[in-house]
Symmetry: C2
Subunit: 330 residues, 2 copies
DNA sequence: CAAGACTGGGCAACCGCTTTCCGGGGAGGT
DNA sequence: ACCTCCCCGGAAAGCGGTTGCCCAGTCTTG
């Protein structure tokens, strides 16, 4: 393993000079020495040891991103946005996948803290359990106490910079659009009761429906993924319009109806949430609420890096996109 | 920032003892001191500084994964498999996204080397340019010279442990299946000419078609993504069966045909490659060649960590999955 | 009961790099 | 010709841990 000392010796200069040449410094180094050092480094195949550099500088150039599930396009898009922004700042990215286990999320914050990453991004829904949230907050505080920066994409529950998708408002806007098409009997594939994102989207939808004087939607809980949507879709009763709280569940629901010979949108209309890019070619095209996921990811990184005294909360509005999976029944 | 020294002082023990208690060691520490140290660490909110630990131990617990594009479900699945395996080994993951730029890939290897990661996984197709491959190899050699381990998912071109999907054979098997259904005039949406994965799949398909004595398929080049498939599908002429070299392109092709009123599979049959999970509910269901992506990712990590003197090459066979996007024309 | 084998605690060297501080030499000013 | 200032090179003190080694005390064991 080639060290800076090897390079310095080979070039016949001091450690200090070699360091200044190779790893940047405010100080100048004479042209001849500089060339000698560079040549030596090249010949020896020197690569700076970042661990040593981080230790000496007291600051790393790594950020951490903690996501629930990278194979879920929602998180992939979010992470991609954040990673692009990070690359733009010359930062490396360490990714932790919790597979939806809140304990894992806490553990990852501790780990990222140990890594002394410059910032941590928490992507993904909070859960409603205040005990878990409390422990997460404590771990975050511990991290921030030693100079770490944190941002979160999701609910503003952690007292940190947050990019908060307007889940409630998005659900409500969608409900109003669907009611505007003449739908009256709704059902919601509501996901898990403890997941805030699912809850907020569902609540916005239900409240809006009720404000319009329509009968309250039938709520069907279940997992937050494709299979959850598939299963839950079997219990939507006589609803003419079904809202799945995310696109992946909506696609599951569509598959379920298809398998059971229920036509969409003729027999039942289906809408989702997120507007996942990979799903845009689905047939029938999915009505949904579009969220600018990549922007949200990069925005979260910006917030984290810039974070000042009082946390900033950015509310991101979704945009209802009507497509052929819902029918106009007026 | 709380250091081990702070903990040791607060607990009234030496640095060595505190280290042995908190960060593991073969040496025993008496129960009372151990308790004192643990309490002090907890009170102070101590987190070991991994940079220091890495430096002192001379080995980090981080691995690097370099992918082309995380929002492409192919890479997401691969990365997820590798990350699960890494988590099982107690390793952290640093992810680099090249956005399909080979120079970026080389740069990331250098960076991962600087980070002294335990292993680097290179996921994704090689390109046919030998100059670029040569530079990548040199960078990898430099990394391995200092004890780094490397594995690759893709073509066995780097002289490292490799998980090699049988792209050529998969393309050929698919061709034989499709010909078996009575198809005669084929077209291939072949992706970019320089991308080995695209090339191999295409070559396998073409060779198999010709071996069967059928007319050579029409080859349409274009980008490796959804839009590439969409555009290329406009030029498939009178082919009755179209092979897109990956699922994402195939979905683009399906969209193109739909937009132009060409019915699939009635007017034209379409097949892809990879069997992307997110796309399994597509309508019509896509005929494809299934690759066990998550397993390939975790396998690559295993290979890298275990890597011995001579590189191992694992060939992974794909499995043809016939679904409704192709028609039996016999 | 003495001697050797363990146990467990602490000192200090070291991991590889950054950066402060010091000093020598050349340029510019008077 | 002398002084000052600036420029640039090097010595050395950290950064926060790990670990080899020494040593005192306790446990066997003949």
């Amino acid at each position: 393993m080639v060290t800076l000392e090897d390079v310095a010796r080979q070039a016949g200069v001091s450690l200090a000079t070699a360091s200044r040449v190779l790893n940047g410094s405010t100080r100048q180094v004479g042209a001849d020495l500089r060339a000698r050092v560079e040549r030596a480094a090249d010949e020896l195949g020197y690569r700076a040891n970042m661990a040593a550099q981080t230790l000496a500088r007291g600051a790393s150039n790594v950020i951490g991103i903690v996501v629930h599930d990278l194979t879920d396009p929602y998180f992939a898009a979010l992470a991609d946005g954040a990673m692009r922004a990070a690359a733009g700042e010359g930062l490396l990215v360490m990714v932790g996948t919790t597979h939806r286990d809140p304990e894992q999320e806490i553990a990852y914050v501790a780990t990222m803290n140990a890594q002394r990453v410059r910032a941590v991004l928490l992507a993904g829904s909070r859960v409603s359990d205040p005990e878990v949230t409390g422990r997460l907050r404590r771990e975050l505080d511990r991290y921030r106490a030693s100079g770490g920066r944190v941002a979160c994409v999701g609910q503003d529950l952690l007292g940190v910079d947050t990019v908060a998708p307007a889940n409630y408002e998005g659900g409500a806007a969608l409900a109003r659009s669907l009611a505007g098409l003449g739908h009256i009997r709704f059902a919601v594939l509501a996901g898990p009761p403890h997941l805030m994102t699912a809850r907020d989207r569902c609540a916005g939808f239900v409240d809006a429906v009720e404000e319009l004087g329509l009968p309250g939607p039938r709520i069907v809980h279940g997992p937050f993924d494709r299979d959850g949507g598939y299963t839950a879709a079997a219990e939507t009763g006589d609803a003419t319009c079904v809202f799945a709280v995310n696109d992946v569940m909506a696609v599951g629901a569509l598959a379920s109806y298809r398998d059971r010979g229920v036509r969409v949108p003729d027999d039942v209309s289906v809408a989702g949430f997120d507007d996942i890019a990979t799903l845009r070619d689905h047939v029938p095209a999915l009505t949904t609420v579009r969220l600018p996921l990549a922007d949200m990811g990069s925005r979260a990184l910006e917030l984290a890096l810039a974070s000042g005294e009082t946390p900033t909360v950015d509310h991101v509005q979704g945009e209802v996109v009507l497509r052929e999976s819902v029918r106009d029944v007026r």
